[in-house]
């Protein structure tokens, strides 16, 4: 429960209020008082790290990607299409690795929904890919250069009537969805709803209804899994919603990588206007999901601002300002944005530090960034973590893993504000290396 005066609180007070609600075990159906206390202590530990306090020990968290499936002997396609099998395998994973403290998100996905929609942006296992091939984005230009103006002028209108039909062809009828102004006067309504009653819009709405039903089946299974993890095993959920940097929304799956990079030279003003238009949508997407789930953390994977992907000047001009605005917008609603900083950010850290984001309101999970520099430039104002290489999980040994974790803890643990995590979404790992990582996190993470 949030306090009655929530709306009048400062950003940091809102964050603390939402965290207190998330940590609280009151009124929640835990299996036993012991499980409730396990949940509370884990959630408190995580919150302490993110609010730059020193917890009892460093929290260890992992997004397990495809690793759960590989180690539990099920296919990636099972996690898309056989929900009971996926739930069983996931619960087996928690039992096999009891040192995993927090709900480990995986690639448990509603395959039938993607099939129904004809989703063209990705290929996935059990769909167009073999059962054990991991899902991947299909690079392409999904927004043409001459569509910038419409995106800028009316982003959600363009997304609804042009982009959704383009990437989900079963919803092609949405192209005919009427103007929302059609509800503003009684005589307008029959005109607007005449369009809604057209065969193509009707077909799209019926497809959406079926997608809703299929998603409900997925949600029921995911709910069962989360319930088992949280209330049965005391594992807090640490991810309440998603968003991205506005430049990544534009560049990843609208313009596509090649086109957006050339847009920096060919139409820079359009790029700037587009990321500005996307920013409030990026904020709302993160906040709505986090608030709705009761988990006050939003996960933002960062892509195209990494070292080498653009110059420092272009990062300062095109990438950072709208990302900063997004982060401030999310924080203002009492939600902590947690950035997964893919690639390296060694050339960006100093610039980030100059932004003076409020202390203890953001988290940064790094990949190939030097962690001593991350501690120096970021650690005083934000929680940091990550960096344990995917290559170490898969090609290293328990001994090299323990040594890596020990060094990382020595560098980053002092003073708190540190969480132990892989530097990747963990798709592949040798089981003994994963276990060694968990054990080393416990051994070297105590304050």
């Amino acid at each position: 429960m949030l306090p009655d005066n929530f709306a009048s609180l400062t950003s940091e007070q809102k964050i603390d209020a939402r965290l207190a609600d998330w940590i609280s075990t009151e009124g929640k159906p835990f299996a036993s008082p012991e499980v409730a206390e396990l949940y509370r202590s884990r959630a408190q530990r995580y919150a302490d790290a993110f609010r730059l306090r020193q917890p009892d020990r460093v929290p260890t968290s992992v997004v397990t990607g495809d690793f759960q499936q590989h180690v539990m002997g099920v296919t990636l396609a099972d996690y898309f299409y056989d929900y009971p099998k996926a739930v069983g395998a996931a619960i087996g994973f928690y039992e096999r690795f009891p040192l995993v403290d927090y709900f480990p998100f995986s690639n448990f996905q509603p395959g039938p929904v993607f099939d129904l929609l004809g989703y063209t942006l990705y290929r996935w296992p059990g769909g167009q890919l073999a059962a054990n091939q991991g899902y991947q984005y299909v690079e392409g230009e999904y927004m043409t250069a001459d569509e910038y103006d419409e995106l800028i002028r009316n982003p959600e209108g363009w997304l609804l009537r042009t982009y959704w039909p383009r990437v989900m062809p079963a919803l092609s009828g949405l192209a005919g969805f009427p103007s929302l102004l059609g509800s503003l006067e009684l005589p307008f309504v029959p005109f607007a709803f005449s369009a809604i009653g057209s065969p193509q819009v009707t077909a799209a709405l019926e497809t959406l209804l079926e997608a809703s039903r299929l998603t409900g089946q997925f949600n029921a299974n995911m709910g069962q899994l989360i319930g088992t993890a949280m209330f049965g095993r005391g594992m807090p959920v640490t991810l309440g919603g998603f968003s991205k940097a506005p430049f990544d929304f534009l560049g990843d799956t609208l313009r596509g990588t090649r086109s957006v990079m050339m847009d920096l030279f060919r139409r820079p003003q359009k790029v700037l206007a587009a990321v500005e238009a996307i920013t409030p949508l990026a904020v709302k997407m993160a906040v709505d999901a986090a608030v709705g789930s009761g988990v006050p953390f939003a996960f933002l994977p960062l892509h195209k601002g990494a070292d080498g992907f653009m110059s420092d000047a272009d990062f300062a001009k095109f990438y950072w300002p709208s990302l900063e605005a997004t982060l401030r917008g999310i924080v203002a609603e009492g939600v902590i944005p947690m950035m997964f900083v893919e690639g390296g950010y060694n050339s960006r850290l100093a610039h980030m530090a100059e932004a003076n984001l409020p202390a203890g309101t953001t988290g940064w999970m790094f990949d190939q960034t030097d962690m001593a520099n991350a501690k120096k430039f970021v650690g005083s104002w934000a929680a940091i973590g990550g960096n344990v290489p995917g290559s170490l999980f898969q090609t290293g040994t328990p001994e090299t893993m323990r040594a890596y974790v020990r060094t990382l803890m020595e560098t980053c643990k002092p003073g708190g504000g540190f969480f132990m995590a892989p530097g990747v979404v963990l798709d592949h790992a040798r089981e003994e290396n994963f276990q060694a990582w968990l054990e080393a996190g416990l051994e070297y993470g105590t304050y």
């Binding site: 495809d66 290929r123 091939q133 991991g134 991947q136 299909v138 690079e139 990588t257 090649r258 990079m261 050339m262 920096l264 030279f265 060919r266 080498g308 992907f309 653009m310 110059s311 272009d314 690639g343 290489p389 995917g390 290559s391 170490l392 999980f393 898969q394 090609t395 290293g396 990747v424 798709d427 592949h428």
Partner: protein, 206 residues
């Protein structure tokens, strides 16, 4: 050598570069000479990339400018019976299970402009296709691209099969989650952290 063309490309003045190339070709400049100026421009941009003055967007944009000029040059070369001088052959592709291609495409075009005959197998390439392409082309340099950790074992399989074909074949790997540890795991000869490193490796093995 036409410094005006080289400068237009290195300064990423797209319309100027294409217009100058058209003007030179119409005035009878040898297509090979125009292509050679493109190579000189890419050498400049490549060096800028190595020293941190140019980045992936600059490489991609320059590559697109070059592609526009190449579309004008190559038909004229064919008509004149000219061929581009080749210093070696390379087979390149993104390994099985991985469909990322942007970095591979940059390396592919840089190898081409630097005089290598490139067989680009695309993405999601099974080990057997790399072997077949190396055998058919006679290439003794193979580049394996992979962006994700799922690429490690396909790379290892591909290297093993290539070695069975030709123990002396040179194999380099590159991509987002690749590093020296992965190179050792896969048995590849070298790991290139970016496109320029890949070119340097290929030149050294040619």
């Amino acid at each position: 050598m036409n410094q005006e063309l080289i400068d237009a490309i290195t300064e990423l003045r797209e319309e100027d570069a294409v217009a100058i190339a058209d003007r030179l070709l119409d005035a009878g400049t040898s297509p090979s000479d125009v292509l050679d100026d493109c190579k000189k421009a890419m050498d400049v941009i490549g060096h800028q990339f190595e020293v941190g003055e140019s980045f992936i967007p600059e490489l991609i944009f320059a590559g697109d400018i070059l592609a526009q000029i190449a579309r004008r040059v190559k038909p004229r070369m064919q008509a004149a019976g000219e061929t581009q001088a080749r210093i070696g052959k390379v087979v390149i592709g993104t390994v099985q299970g991985d469909i990322h291609d942007i970095a591979k495409d940059i390396v592919s075009f840089m190898l081409d402009i630097n005089g290598f005959e490139v067989t680009d197998l695309g993405v999601d390439v099974a080990p057997e296709r790399f072997v077949e392409a190396a055998r058919e082309s006679g290439a003794r340099i193979v580049g394996l691209s992979g962006f994700l950790t799922l690429a490690y074992d396909p790379m290892k399989d591909t290297v093993a099969q290539l070695r069975a074909l030709d123990p002396g074949i040179h194999v380099m790997i590159g991509g987002g989650q690749m590093d020296e540890q992965v190179r050792e795991y896969t048995g590849a000869d070298a790991y290139g952290k970016d496109a320029m490193a890949a070119i340097a490796l290929a030149r050294g093995w040619a």
